[in-house]
Amino acid sequence: MTGPLAVLAERFPELEFGTVHGDHVVRVERERLAEVTAAAREAGFEMFVDLCAVDYLRRPEGRFEVVVNLVSIEEPQRIRILSALPGSDPTAPSITGVYPGANFYEREAYDLFGIEFEGHPDLTRILLPDDWVGHPLRKDTPVGSVPVQFKHPDEDTT
């Protein structure tokens, strides 16, 4: 390992840095997500790229997973920081304090998966209407379970 990745690995010797299909990944406990992300930024991963959630439904180490993708531009490297969350309490610390760009992405994960990001300045729905009930990308939401809104022209009151 070289560059920012090596700096980060040196800073956290207790974390396991691995490679999956050529991508550098590190798994952290959710309490440390913001801390490790901030350290990654100081180590040289200056650009925030992506944050998303995955629902693994019946995975023993935690139903949900928050995935943060960062890039170092100077020495082209990517790192993926993954953090598992239990299905009973899907909360994670917000990283908007480290990267303001995470704002929309955390709102999206909240909207579609119901993951609460503690410390987010404005955790509201972003893609779905504000009065929507449920989180449609969760695996326990069946596809096609939402009735399509439809009104026959004859029933139009005007």
């Binding site: 299909h21 200056e46 992506d50 998303c52 993708n69 404005d122 893609l127 779905l128």
Partner: protein, 478 residues
């Protein structure tokens, strides 16, 4: 008429239009930011680098020197969440105005909530989701084979990039390589797609600020590229042409002539646009110093593509993380230094020429061979084989009924679309359908930076700045 140095030929004799007159008034902060960012045109040969003001080292290195300042700026006032419009807390003198979602200049169904103090924008809040159709969930019910039909509809102005990104992600999980000809065809199509997308941007940007002839000219040149797409794929958009394992069909007979025609026609069109716009006083007035975003803000918000490069952030996925053998072609990455609408125009102009440069190299070096992988577990057999071989028939049947299985795992694959880094995070559980597909649309992140561009600017600049970001709402809302 002055022209910017020709990026393709490295011709730097023409005067540098990016030398601004003193009349253009910009805040001192962006002035300082500007000096931290290096030269405009990376010609590869004679970059006009002024060692006094600009250093030849990367913008990132300079940012690192001022890391403390950048950090403080991002946590402090430079990047904050106070653009969020709180109707109750607004002052009496300001008024809240909704622009969109049906406004013609919002490029689709985007709604901007504006807090105005007279003509000045105090705060902006983009409100999205009007085009949300749950495509990430749809991806989970389609097989990996059907996947490209879904993702190609996301960023409908650069459909090939969507297909390529998805196919590359699937191929990485499968662990298969595609033949060199398939990769070359992919590069050809995606770079032509970049040309088509930027041509449309010239058209709409021109129209949005009143240059109505640009609208016609941009569409006219783009038509040549779309006609070629139709000849190759059968469709003008939503092609479903790049698929896991290769491409759907080989290039048609006579494709070399078509591409040569495009290579002849588009540069002429670009020269026309330059005559129309590059030194046009009205265009300069509407674009220079408008919608400025600093490199630090680009990094913090995850802004990529031409918008970030116009600010001097030297990040191009094709250079940093090459894919499909694009590293074997010669091309440069044009950079701006002012981070305003005008530099985004110049950067897109340069990128269009660089894309044509890659297309020319692909045309000259197109390798012979298969256009898709011969792995029959992934790509269907040729039609003639089905009549002769039971195995081929079974493979064909299995592929088109249940699809192919992809080993469990997850991967993040990125390509440089016309708007920036298009990334897909693909999770497979070992079945024939993705367990999860997350799409990192470049427009989504770029749109997030619009408040930073527009705060305390005039409302007349809003349309110009918003158009310069080139948001595609299909990509934002998915």
């Amino acid at each position: 008429m002055s022209n910017p140095p020709d990026v393709v030929t490295g011709d730097t004799e023409a005067p540098d239009v990016t030398e601004r007159s003193e009349a253009v008034d910009r805040p001192s902060e962006s002035e300082r930011e500007r000096r931290r960012v290096h030269s405009v045109w990376v010609t590869g040969t004679e970059a006009p680098v002024d060692s006094g003001d600009f250093t030849s080292e990367g913008a990132q290195e300079m940012l690192a020197d001022e890391a403390g300042a950048v950090l403080a700026a991002q946590r402090g006032t430079l990047v904050s969440d106070d653009y969020l419009v709180d109707v109750d807390a607004s002052e009496d003198e300001t008024q809240i105005i909704n622009m969109g979602p049906q406004h013609p200049s919002t490029h689709g169904v985007l709604r901007l909530q504006l807090e105005l103090d007279g003509e000045t924008i105090r705060r902006v809040k983009p409100i999205i989701g009007y085009l949300h159709t749950g495509m990430e969930r749809t991806a989970e019910v389609l097989t990996f084979m059907q996947g490209p039909t879904n993702v190609t509809r996301m960023d409908y102005l650069s459909p090939f990039h969507n297909e390529l990104c998805f196919s590359l992600a699937v191929e990485r999980l499968l662990g298969i390589d595609v033949p060199p000809r398939a990769s070359a065809i992919r590069v050809l199509m995606t770079e032509l797609n970049r040309v088509a997308s930027h041509l449309l941007w010239f058209a709409t940007q021109g129209m949005d600020i009143g240059a109505l002839s640009m609208m016609i000219y941009g569409w006219r040149e783009r038509e040549a590229v779309l006609a070629f797409f139709e000849a190759v794929t059968g469709l003008r958009m939503n092609h479903n042409y790049i698929r896991p394992g290769g491409v759907a069909a080989d290039l048609p007979d006579g494709w070399e002539d078509d591409v040569s025609g495009i290579l002849e026609q588009i540069p002429k069109g670009l020269a026309d646009y330059e005559d129309l716009l590059t030194a046009n006083p009205v265009f300069l007035e509407r674009t220079q110093g408008v919608g400025v975003i600093t490199p630090a803000e680009c990094l913090a918000y995850g802004v990529t593509g031409p918008v970030a490069r116009a600010s001097g952030v030297d990040y191009d996925v094709r250079k940093a993380f090459p894919y499909s053998g694009i590293e074997q072609y010669e091309f440069d990455v044009p950079l701006g230094r002012h981070g305003d609408v005008y530099d985004r125009y110049l950067v897109r102009l340069g990128e269009t020429r660089q894309a044509l440069r890659i297309v020319r190299q692909v045309l000259e070096t197109m390798p012979p061979g298969d256009y898709r992988s011969e792995d029959r577990k992934v790509t269907p057999p040729p039609r003639a084989r089905i009549d002769q071989s039971m195995e081929a028939l079974i493979h064909h049947f299995k592929l088109f009924t249940e699809g192919f299985k992809v080993p469990a795992g997850e991967t993040y694959q990125a390509v440089e679309s016309a708007r920036g880094e298009l990334g897909m995070y693909l999770v497979s559980n070992g079945g024939a359908k993705p367990w999860r597909l997350h799409v990192r649309g470049p427009s989504f992140a770029n749109l997030q930076a619009v408040p930073a561009m527009l705060t305390d600017s005039l409302i007349a600049d809003l349309v110009s700045a918003l158009a310069s970001v080139d948001p595609v709402m299909g990509d934002v809302d998915r």
